[in-house]
Every structure is written in C-alpha cells, then in structure tokens.
C-alpha cells in the first residue's frame, strides 16, 4: 500500500522542519500578525455568549455520542442518503477513496473539476491522484487557490495561505494568471473571481468536503465564507462529497449547537456567511447526481484508543492553531501534514498509526503543554492529555534509548529520599562550572539548554539540608 498521505512524503521531524521556519523572518511576521488578530477577535466573539461553556459541553456530548454509536449512525446515514437519490461509497484508505473519485470523474468524461476547500481531500492527496489520472482539480477557495497556484503546501486548516502576505500573493497571481494586479485585497479578490468564474460555468463535476452530515435526514452541510463553495455545490451536474466517517451528527437539531460553536471559534463571526445544505438530489434543481464517499483512513483504529479518540470530535475550527505558541513561531508546514498545530500533533500520528515513523512520532512532542488549545477548543478536546498519552506510546515504541536510560536513573534517584539527597550533594559540585553564579555552557544534552539560556549555579546547601540543620532537633 502507498504511504498514508496524511503526512507529506519526505518531511523531516518537527524540530528539523521548525528550525527552517524559525529563521524565516517573513513567515514569522505574517504568522504573528495573522494569529494575533484572530486571537483577539475570537476572544471577543466568544465573550458575547453567556452560555459558551454549556455550548462547549453540548458539542462534546453530541460528538462523543456519535463516536460511541458510529457504526449504526453511518448505516442510518447511508440509508437516508440513498433514499433521497444519492449514492454512498465506502473507502478504507486514501488509495481506495482516490480511485473511487477518479472513476466517478471518468464516468462523466470530466478532465477538469472544481473543488470546494476540503480537509478530507487534502488528507488523502486527492488532487495529485486525480492529476495522475488525467483530471485537473481547480481549487475555488481563495486561500486554497493561492496555495495551488504557488505550488505550495497549506499551512493552516482554515486559511491554508496564512503564511503568505499580500505582496507574495500578488506575485503568484501575476505569474500564474498572467494578469497585472495591485496588492490591494479587493484587486486580488477580483482577479481570483475572474479566473474562477469561467471555471464555474464550464465545469460539470464538483468535489466538496463536508463539515457535517446529518444521519437521520441524509443532509450534508458545508460552511464557508466566500460563496465559491455555494457555486460549486449548485452549478455543476455532478457533486462528489468526500468526508471522514466521524463528521456525523445524529439529528438536524444537533446542528444548532455546532452552527453556534464553529463560526465564532474559527473566524470570530457570529454567524457563518454561507451555510449550504443539500440532501440527495432534487430533480431540476442543482446537481442531478450526488455521490458521498465516506473515508476511514485510520479513523476506526483511532476510535479504538479510549484516550486518543477524542481527537475525532474535532470540527476543524482551527481555534487551537491560532492560540498555539508553537504554531505561531513555526507555521503549519513544520508539522509535515495537512493537519498542523495542536490538533495536528494529536490527530496526524494517530491517523498514520505508526509510532515507529520518526516524523509522526516527533509531533506529540511539538508542544510546551501550555494548555491554550484546550482552553479554546469548542468541543473540549483535552489536547494536552492526548499529547502526553501519545508521548507514552512513542516512548514505548522506541524502546531503550539514551533518554530512557537517563529517565530510569532519575526515577530511581527520586524513588528514595536518601538517594535523592546524595544526588543533590553530588550535583552541587556543578558549582565549579559556574562563574558569577551562572553556568553558561553544559555538555550535551544540557548544551541544548545552554545554547540560549544560562543555568543558575546549584547552591551549596539544598533546602532539605537547611531544614535538617535548623529545624530538626537531633
């Protein structure tokens, strides 16, 4: 089987990729500005709601219920979609899903398709697979289009081109569209609009993702901000929707919770600009053929893990990315996957499902465990707990390493007060390394600390030694 494309082939481990990003001053500036702005706006939008905590709990509960009954709900979804004239396809992995979509495109004799921005299709590498099969996929979301035309990779769940500024976008458009534009947002948007309009009017097949699928009615829901999605979902003759099996809600009424949680968490808007809902096919109105491709791609395996499965609650709002101090400095591409940031650090390794993969195994460590992600997550995914849980799996997979030996030794020392005290006394000898009360250089691995930070010299007397001397009557 081909390598699961959840992670990009050849991506280095996180620390290595981050090193490159950290030196990119333009990237640092773009990210700091963008995440800083949206952080503030999200906080304000959420503060307007006095029942936000209850909504989060409700979101968590609905999603947990879905995960607990996923098998029956999926069957219900299949039945309701079929009853309304749609066709449901099941795909175990990326390869299978890509083949299904390619076959559907070929059945329509399509050589070009329009796409609504979709994480699921990015996850399975659909565009590349279609291209190899002679079908060109045109991204219609502005940010996604920027990434596509720039032969670039996405760096954010919601704003894939967040790492680009206006000047860079102008350069890409001029080069790829062959037009003259200024770097004014209105001009850039107009250039994209002109470019895309022709595609909408001439393309017969559209491919979308889904934010939600309602099991009892078979309705599919897409939320977007630009209206390009709306065009893809209504103009073509055939609509192919690709979605992960966890994107379900049981009933129409459950949407109420998520249509409040998602826009405020992701774009800091009270209400989403375009919410499109379609149910099967309606003769004479909209696409006349509708295909729903349900992909597993590591999800069932993730569901087996009682701690890790909460990652499947994710509604891809990207709030956790925008508050993450690690993401803000390193950008999304350092994570080597379409799912970057805190959610990527827990979802990607689980979907890859192989803790022996050095790149995937480096992701759970790409966090300072500051907890900002958990604080904002609208479905209350305890990302820090999942991170430490996955770290334990990585440690287990790695077996005996220099680190594991050192950790075992430290645990042995901490296991007894007398051993600990002896170690303290021995450690105090490090005073000889100090000048003016600070140590500026330690041998490896301490050198990783002292590359940028001093270490205080250990004092001659530990607290416990002081206590014994002053407080214990002998």
């Amino acid at each position: 089987m081909a390598r699961n494309p959840v992670t990009w082939l050849g991506s280095p481990t996180f620390p290595k990729a981050a090193r490159v990003a950290l030196n990119d001053t333009q990237l640092r500036q773009n990210l700091r500005k963008a995440t800083g702005t949206i952080r503030g706006r999200r906080a304000a939008a959420v503060a307007e709601m006095d029942d936000w905590e209850q909504l989060r709990v409700a979101g968590e509960q609905v999603k947990d219920d879905v995960l607990a009954r996923l098998d029956t709900l999926l069957v219900q979804l299949e039945e309701s979609v079929t009853a309304r004239g749609g066709t449901v396809h099941w795909a175990r992995d990326a390869e299978e899903a890509n083949r299904i979509v390619l076959d559907l495109c070929r059945a329509e004799n399509a050589t070009e398709v329009v796409k609504v921005k979709s994480m699921a299709t990015a996850e399975i590498g659909l565009n590349e697979a279609l291209e190899a099969g002679g079908v060109h996929a045109v991204e219609t979301d502005l940010a996604e289009l920027i990434v596509q035309l720039g032969d670039d990779r996405p760096s954010h769940i919601l704003v894939p081109a967040i790492h680009r500024n206006r000047a860079e976008i102008r350069e890409i458009f001029q080069r790829r569209m062959g037009v003259e534009v200024s770097d004014e947002p209105a001009d850039l948007a107009e250039a994209a609009r002109t470019y895309l309009r022709e595609k909408f009017l001439t393309t017969k097949v559209a491919i979308s993702g889904a934010n939600f699928a309602v099991a009892d009615s078979g309705s599919i829901v897409v939320l977007e901000s630009e209206g390009n999605g709306r065009m893809c979902l209504t103009l073509p003759d055939t609509l192919i929707t690709v979605m992960g099996i966890e994107k379900l809600v049981p009933t129409w009424q459950d949407l109420e919770v998520f249509l409040q949680l998602l826009p405020r968490s992701s774009t800091a808007e009270r209400m989403n600009p375009y919410t499109s809902v379609w149910t099967g096919v309606t003769p004479g109105d909209g696409p006349q053929r509708f295909h729903l491709v349900l992909i597993d791609n590591g999800r069932t395996a993730t569901l087996q893990d009682s701690v890790g499965r909460q990652a499947l609650r994710c509604i891809r709002c990207s709030a956790c990315l925008n508050v993450c101090p690690v993401y803000e400095r390193t950008g999304g591409q350092s994570y080597g996957s379409v799912y970057p940031g805190p959610i990527g650090a827990i979802l990607t390794p689980q979907l890859v499902g192989d803790m022996h993969d050095p790149q995937a195994a480096s992701l759970p460590f790409a966090s300072s465990l500051c907890g900002a992600c958990f604080e904002v997550c609208p479905v209350r995914i305890d990302i820090p707990s999942v991170l430490t849980h996955l770290r334990a799996e990585v440690v287990e997979a790695k077996g005996r390493t220099a680190e594991s030996v050192a950790m075992a030794a430290a645990a042995w020392v901490f296991g007894s007060a007398s051993r600990y005290e002896k170690a303290q006394k021995a450690g105090a000898l490090a005073r000889f390394l100090a000048r003016d009360g600070r140590i500026t250089s330690l041998p490896w691995p301490g050198s990783k600390w002292t590359s940028s930070r001093d270490v205080p010299a250990p004092p001659a007397q530990s607290f416990r030694a002081w206590w014994k001397e002053n407080r214990c009557q002998k």
Binding site: P325, S368, A408, F414, G415, P445, P459, A465
Partner: protein
C-alpha cells in the same frame, strides 16, 4: 500543614522554600517538611514515562497523607498532583499552589509584605489553565507595600519552557522565550516574578544570558519580604 518544596526548588532555589516557611509561619501556620519527599513525577509523566511517574505519585501520597493541607510553591507541580495523580491511580492529599492557599484557605491578600521594587508578573501556564489560579497572585502583589506592579504585555503567553520541550525543541522554545523577554523588558521592571521556579529558571536563564539585569524572583520571596527582614538577592 506540610510544605512540598518540589525537587527543583529544593535543589536549585532553597531560598524560595525558606521564604514559604517564613511567610506561612508569620501567618500563624505550623509548617512541616517531611524529609521523605522527592519529586511529583511530572518530568517523567510529561515526557512519556508514565510507568516511572506512577511510583512517584504513590510516594507523594504516602508522604503527605497525614496532613490537612500540602502547599507547593509551584503551580505546575500542584497541577500535576491535583489533575494527573488521580489518573495514575492515587488519591492525593489536598494540595495547593501558594497563592491559592493564601487566598482561598487562609483568606488573606495582604500578607504584610514590603518590597520596594518595580515588579512585573508572569502567570505561568499551569497555574493559569490547569489550576485556574486567576488573579490571586496579582491581588497578593497589589497588597505589598512599596511594590510598583507593572502589567506584562501578552502575559498569558507561554514562556516556552515546557519541561523537556525546552531541550527537545530547543530552537522553538528559544523563539518563545525571546518574545517573552521582549515583553518583560518593555515593562522596565527590575524584577520578574512568577509562582513557578521552573518558568523563572527558563526566562531568568535567558535574561541572565543577555545580561539584561532583570532579576527573576519567586512570588514567595516577595511575599516573605518585610521591612524588618527585607528580601536580599542570594548570590
């Protein structure tokens, strides 16, 4: 009540633990320091060595079982005990971070301290988010006589320590540290205070490397300082 000094404070920052003792005794508590204590196991747990953390959690419970309250001068270690130890199968004794203990248990915000310096305060991530300590440390600092408290910009942003994160992702950690230091320097404060020596060791290590002259001082040492017995920099 018992003092849990934490391994880091016991070994590297004994002046903080002595300050806690001084402060709590001044407020009328009788403080014990059970010598069998070592470490709460956080480093092991957070790095993925859960099997090593488990006996340390058990040891913690054994050592502190008999006390009404345990106080730690660390939001991070108190958070580890309160939030994580139960997931490791132990039921830890009532453990508080220092500011929480003072405000919630003893019911004081003015501890009679005197500290005539310009101070800024960094609310450490685990105090802030794991324990929900909120504004309690600031309320305590505001009541300190002579203290000029200046607000830290982007105070709630992580300093980049994160335990072994600081060495496993040293460059990213340093980038976070650089931004934190920039904020600290912007305040013009001479003292950076926090409730965790781990974060102070990180930020302080950077401030010292650059010879900024800003000194990290644990909240306990500020609160223990009085006109009769003022805080002095330990060499």
């Amino acid at each position: 009540m018992a003092l849990f000094a934490t391994c880091l404070t016991d070994t590297f920052f004994p002046s903080t633990a002595r300050a806690v003792v001084r402060l709590l005794e001044r407020l009328g508590c009788s403080v014990d320091f059970p010598l069998e204590q070592t470490c709460c196991g956080q480093m092991h747990f957070n790095t993925g060595y859960r099997d090593h953390a488990r006996p340390l959690a058990r040891k913690y419970t054994d050592v502190f079982m008999g006390y009404d309250h345990v106080v730690a001068p660390s939001g991070s270690c108190a958070g580890m005990v309160r939030e994580v130890h139960p997931t490791l199968g132990t039921s830890p004794p009532r453990t508080f971070e220092l500011a929480e203990f003072l405000v919630d248990v003893l019911g004081v915000t003015d501890v009679g301290a005197w500290f005539p310096h310009r101070v800024t305060y960094h609310p450490t991530c685990h105090s802030l988010r794991m324990l929900g300590v909120g504004d309690k440390p600031l309320a305590l600092l505001r009541a300190v006589k002579g203290l000029d408290l200046v607000e830290l910009p982007d105070a709630t942003h992580c300093c980049g320590f994160g335990g072994t994160f600081a060495v496993k992702n040293a460059e990213t950690s340093t980038a976070m540290l650089a931004d934190k230091m920039r904020c600290v320097l912007d305040t013009g404060a001479e003292v950076l205070s926090a409730g965790d020596n781990s974060c102070l060791m990180h930020i302080g290590g950077g401030l010292s490397r650059l010879r900024t002259g800003v000194r990290p001082v644990h909240l306990a040492e500020i609160l223990a300082s009085t006109e009769e017995d003022p805080w002095r920099a330990t060499p």
